[in-house]
Symmetry: C2
Subunit: 233 residues, 2 copies
């Protein structure tokens, strides 16, 4: 049995959502059949998107401190429920003793085979970094990046979730999905872990949504249960 | 700035609920204004209620291991979102370098002044331990312990939340609240952290409910924000 390490706090509600999904995806009839987690919820890590876009303070030292904290405590796997942080995936993965799941790899693997063109809803930083577009292109899927009209609405949605205003975030996301549907886009990646919290406010999304938080949780639970970490020793 | 230590996993959904309440109670407009948390979600700790009631395996060694893990990583405060574990509060508190909040103290402090008789909804183990009855008596409030008809419904509700069946748990809790109202009880403590997850399924509870998870979260956020742990250094 090993602990699952979660490097979180980016943002905090997204980390709670990720843990909620891990718990609900685990087949268990009592506490002792659940998975052990060590969660470093470190919201003070400098903003990832600003660092990529605007030469904001570099979050990498604090990200590596978090990776160190988890490894020092014997985790057997690390999941990071923040998409933008995966701009530094190579550095974090190389620095970590425990394997680190890649959220974009788990998310694009859930795109239906018939989808040929898929929108990427993410921070401006993650879009400039480009790892989602690359992951889709690797599967011969055309990535669709929101235009200058749409991206400010995505950014507002993300900012509002971080500030706890889920109603406003849901309204902004709904506007984005309407614009995507008008442009004939039928599938979108929620490639920022704040967005699924906004999507929960929308009864019938106009576009099929793929949830990066949920897909990372699925991969985490699968990895850990295959190794029996849900069984006490 | 210090980390808030959370000794959780008892059960896992209750820990998620506690974290959710901590995040939502924190005034923040962006990630960097939130509180840093280190969460040891350790669901394999032996069942607390069984240990108290039926001479089940002793959870104290694993509880102390969890306290050690949090202290080793420099937490400045520990919160334990499991009421029954507080049967061992004295041992955990004495063992810990960081102060440990007492969930029952934070919960009874939220009882309205006019309440003279308050029901305690808890595991059988916590009721036999008696620390909630004592905490109420210390405030000159008469504790009302569910009778032999009612307690199995409370136990079913708790068990169902741990197994993820919130609909069944909500129905059992609603039955309990109906019986309490018939007996003229107007206030009840949700003195087990699974119960608030069931209560969220009830639109209009027949009895005023005080949520031990929420009160522990309030005390945690107050303690940490007073010390500036929500500000990056």
């Amino acid at each position: 049995m090993a602990l699952i390490g979660i490097l979180g706090g980016m943002g905090p509600l997204a980390t709670v959502d990720f843990m909620d999904k891990v718990v609900r995806l685990t087949t268990a009839s009592r506490d002792q059949e659940h998975l052990p987690l060590l969660v470093a919820n470190l919201p003070h890590i400098d903003d990832r998107s600003s660092a990529i876009l605007d030469h904001g303070a570099d979050p990498l030292p604090a990200l590596l401190d978090g990776i160190d904290l988890l490894n020092r405590n014997g985790v057997g796997l690390i999941a990071i429920p923040c998409n933008s942080a995966h701009h530094w995936y190579a550095q974090m993965s190389a620095h970590s003793g425990a394997p680190v799941l890649h959220i974009a790899q788990t998310c694009v693997a859930a795109v239906p085979r018939e989808a040929r063109r898929v929108a990427v809803l993410a921070t401006g930083g993650a879009l400039v970094s480009g790892f989602y577009q690359q992951a889709l292109a690797d599967l011969d899927i055309e990535p669709m990046v929101p235009n200058a009209e749409m991206q400010p609405l995505v950014a507002a949605c993300i900012r509002e979730v971080k500030a706890g205003d889920l109603d406003a975030a849901g309204a902004h996301l709904q506007a984005v999905l309407g614009l995507l549907a008008e442009q004939g886009v039928s599938t979108a990646l929620m490639a920022c872990t704040e967005i699924p919290l906004a999507a929960a406010r929308i009864a019938e999304p106009a576009v099929k949504l793929i949830d990066s938080t949920l897909e990372l949780a699925r991969a985490t639970v699968k990895y850990a249960c295959e190794r029996g970490w849900n069984r006490a020793q």
